[in-house]
């Protein structure tokens, strides 16, 4: 009964033998940003020749570099299936998840891999996301209610239509490609940013939430009103969250509420 296991393994072994590149195998060149704090004054670019395989993504190429060529290259990754949000980088100038950027879409041209722009670089392809996390927290991304129903009484009822109203905006994987795509965030680091606002909007639109007034930071000067609807955030979003829509709708919403509070101050929710 052992033969089928061995046959399966030899295929696995072939799959894993990334490093056995012969001269005949096609290669593709990756030009990767390197930055070693304390050692480098500024980022530089290092070129690596990597085997070209039809079903490889840029992340596979980076892993090959780290495993077989240069162990000093640092980058973040985890799930390799586009749901954890770790592996966002600039690929030929466009923010992408490297686990979803296929080499075949660039071959035989060279691929430039850089850390996400509009973020400070910690090392090589690793950027500092503390600002993003602070902003995420500032929109109070949790259910806020005046009165909680006891768990023993069961779930809050929510119709499929009510779920549909905010479901799209729950899909954000916090990959920050939208921040890299947004020129406003690049020019004005205080801007709350697409993902944070979209998350705040998600909670505001959730029928179970009653905390809109507490998310006033969204309607602030550095919130939605910094946005000039360039729209690139929604273009690069790998999960079709459409943060641009969330922001513009928030503008309409906030404006409506403002008029209501002026014209009908007695009608507070």
């Amino acid at each position: 009964m052992g033969f089928w296991v061995s046959s399966s393994i030899s295929k696995l072994a072939t799959r894993n033998r990334y490093h056995e590149v012969t001269m005949a195998e096609p290669t593709i060149t990756l030009n990767v940003t390197r930055y070693r704090p304390g050692q480098d004054r500024a980022p530089t670019t290092q070129a690596y020749a990597v085997p070209y395989k039809e079903d490889w993504v840029v992340l596979d190429a980076l892993n090959h570099i780290k495993d077989q060529i240069d162990g000093t290259l640092s980058y973040r990754w985890s799930c390799r299936m586009g749901v954890c949000g770790s592996c966002g980088m600039m690929v030929n100038g466009t923010p992408k998840l490297t686990c979803a950027a296929f080499l075949r879409d660039y071959y035989p041209g060279e691929i430039r891999v850089e850390p996400l722009i509009n973020f400070p670089i910690i090392r090589d392809l690793v950027i500092d996301m503390s600002d993003f996390l602070d902003k995420l927290k500032s929109v109070k991304p949790w259910i806020i209610r005046k009165e909680e129903k006891p768990v023993a009484r069961g779930e809050y009822l929510q119709t499929p239509a009510e779920l549909e109203a905010f479901h799209q905006f729950t899909q954000c994987i916090n990959c920050m490609l939208c921040y890299a795509a947004c020129p406003v965030y690049g020019l004005e680091p205080k801007f709350l940013g697409p993902a944070a606002i979209a998350l705040g909007y998600r909670y505001n639109m959730d029928s179970r939430d009653q905390g809109k007034e507490q998310r006033a930071v969204i309607g602030n000067h550095d919130g939605i009103w910094d946005c000039t609807f360039v729209g690139e955030c929604s273009v690069v979003c790998p999960k079709d969250v459409d943060p641009a829509a969330a922001i513009q709708r928030s503008k309409v919403d906030t404006t409506k509420n403002w008029f209501q509070s002026i014209l009908m101050p007695w009608g507070q929710r």
Binding site: V5, I9, D67, C79, V83, L136
Partner: protein
């Protein structure tokens, strides 16, 4: 040194739930959440299908317990299972109250779907990204509590133990490369599983068994490690998970003749609509074995990544797929170029989950005073020899809560550990890390080479079908790799975000975990659940109705046993 009441290692579903549970016990407790990645990157995020609990009138706690115990091939501790099924509904409703976007029925109640091995529909889901929504809901809710202090991108290197009590952890702060001491009265390990010891796995890069190995090195037993679950439907090559929900919604598994082969293995008769516990809704271990037997008969397809079968979703229709399985459609299209609306998806069994882990009792407590564990890292055991799909996400919540509350209760009654002892232990750890990793010179082996050889040894020796010879060979290979590990090359001397040292540390942990799995498997001379031996093909309740306990010795794991707790369900033959 940072000092807290509770130190939680791992920011996934179990870790976050434990942190919230402890924070709700008392806001005066200072809780550290230490994770080598930002919490929303934790592997919980990849779970797709759903999470099980008894919420409907047609269901009962006893039925959920029976399904679980049966699925576990009677190796589950039945008192733990009873507690688990009882607390599950409350946990899922609590999650709903915290904003989790569960999919809904027209009347507004949370929906449930069919899942493998479950007698009735009891698996709650959020489209087919349940783990993602669960994790993000927990992470976002955790931001409410100021008493939860996060140590993001801090890599656990060891548990600090003084005088038989755990007193904290050492971890490398990835930003500075410094070894930080995070002292605590209690430690909760929620570091997930170790699927990356195998070459084909649904698991993320981070699932390297860190917490399991750390507990093992601190003298705690690892329980039932030989039970490794193969998920029947992963994509060939990448191992990316195609959720069981695709079968729950009615998908069919077909061999190369277009035949629904599961009916040949006692799982029939085949029906058009899914029948609970039959055919494609059988338990995962049985389905994986069926696939391998089809392969032996030459009835599977052959592709660039080996054998595979077809998962056919075409008859579900585009609307159902878009509504219930949108992520499946996205994954299949992107990674194998197949649109499941029009073509069947190529799938094969891949390593998915470890039933085994750090041995805990029903309150997530280990034998080391002050140390708790929850989630895939732990083994209570509720999953026994084989886990039913959708029990794992529930397990995170139920035992995360139990661990958090137990740790909080314990921390309230003890004083902080003595810092002099901690300093001494930390200095030892710093020296060890310097010697083996941070200031290591020379070396002849690439980290990736040893890792790949370990993975191949595990696939060959501890795969779906095992025998004495192959397991012994694996154990020997792993011992050799342990020696060769001392000669690894560490090229990266930088202190900022040194991921090479991190990879080496992970491999170090993985070698321990792999060795425990292989040795535990060797010593279990029977077949049960996901542990199948060709030389001992039958289940042997007389000799092996007990948990394997593996303790660390310098020469490898020492195996001992612990009886299974049976309450109301005496072991019977496991037929579906």
């Amino acid at each position: 040194m940072f000092t807290h009441d509770i130190v939680i290692v791992g920011g996934g579903g179990a870790g976050l739930r434990a942190a919230i549970a402890a924070a709700e016990v008392s806001s005066k407790l200072s809780i550290a959440l230490v994770s080598k990645v930002y919490p929303m990157r934790s592997h919980t995020v990849s779970a797709e299908g759903g999470t099980a609990a008894v919420l409907r009138e047609y269901d009962s706690l006893d039925l959920h317990a029976k399904d679980t115990i049966f699925g576990a091939d009677f190796l589950a501790d039945q008192d733990a299972v009873e507690a688990f099924v009882k607390e599950a509904p409350g946990e899922l409703i609590q999650l709903e109250h915290w904003g989790c976007p569960w999919s809904r029925d027209p009347d507004g109640r949370v929906s449930s779907r069919s899942f493998g091995g479950m007698s009735v529909d009891r698996t709650l889901f959020a489209a087919d990204k349940t783990g993602f929504h669960l994790l993000h809901t927990l992470f976002q809710t955790s931001l409410k509590y100021d008493s939860i202090i996060r140590y993001d991108e801090c890599f656990l290197t060891s548990l600090l133990v003084d005088d038989g009590k755990v007193c904290g952890v050492t971890s490398i702060n990835l930003y500075t490369g410094r070894v930080e001491v995070i002292a605590g009265k209690t430690v909760i390990l929620c570091t997930g599983g170790g699927g990356r010891i195998f070459p084909f796995t649904t698991n993320a890069a981070i699932n390297t068994g860190d917490g399991m190995a750390a507990a093992y090195r601190a003298g705690v037993a690892l329980k039932d490690m030989e039970f490794v679950q193969y998920h029947p439907t992963g994509l060939p090559g990448t191992g990316i998970l195609i959720t069981e929900a695709s079968r729950g919604e009615g998908g069919w598994l077909k061999n190369k003749d277009g035949y629904r082969y599961l009916q040949d293995y006692g799982l029939g008769p085949p029906t058009d609509k899914p029948t609970h516990r039959k055919m494609e809704l059988g338990p995962r271990d049985i389905l994986s074995r069926c696939h391998m037997q089809e392969y032996a008969k030459g009835r599977t397809f052959e592709g660039p990544y080996g054998h595979y079968v077809h998962l056919d979703l075409r008859h579900l229709g585009e609307e159902v797929i878009n509504k219930k399985l949108p992520f499946v459609r996205e994954l299949a299209s992107k990674y194998v170029g197949i649109d499941p609306v029009y073509e069947p998806i190529p799938v094969r069994p891949v390593v998915h989950y470890m039933m085994g882990g750090v041995s805990t009792d029903i309150n997530a407590k280990t034998t080391l005073v002050g140390l708790y564990a929850a989630g895939e890292t732990a083994c209570v055991s509720i999953n026994g020899a084989n886990r039913l799909g959708s029990n794992s996400l529930t397990e995170l919540l139920v035992f995360g809560t139990r661990a958090g509350r137990a740790a909080a209760a314990y921390a309230a009654n003890v004083s902080a550990p003595a810092s002099a002892a901690i300093d001494a232990l930390a200095a030892d750890e710093q020296r060890r890390l310097d010697r083996q990793f941070l200031r290591k010179d020379g070396g002849t082996e690439r980290i990736a080479t040893i890792r790949q050889e370990m993975q191949l040894a595990m696939e060959e020796g501890a795969g779906i079908y095992r025998d004495e010879q192959k397991m012994e060979k694996a154990c020997k290979t792993l011992r050799t790799l342990r020696e060769r590990f001392k000669e690894i090359i560490i090229e990266d001397r930088g202190s900022t975000f040194n991921t090479e040292v991190m990879t080496a540390l992970e491999l170090d942990f993985m070698l321990d975990v792999a060795e425990v799995v292989a040795n535990s498997a060797l010593m279990r001379r029977e077949s049960r659940g996901s542990h199948t031996r060709t030389d001992f093909p039958k289940r042997d309740d007389a000799n092996f109705l007990k948990h394997t306990l593996a303790y660390r010795t310098p020469d490898g794991p020492k195996i001992d046993y612990l009886p299974v707790t049976i309450t109301r369900w005496p072991p019977e033959e496991r037929k579906y």
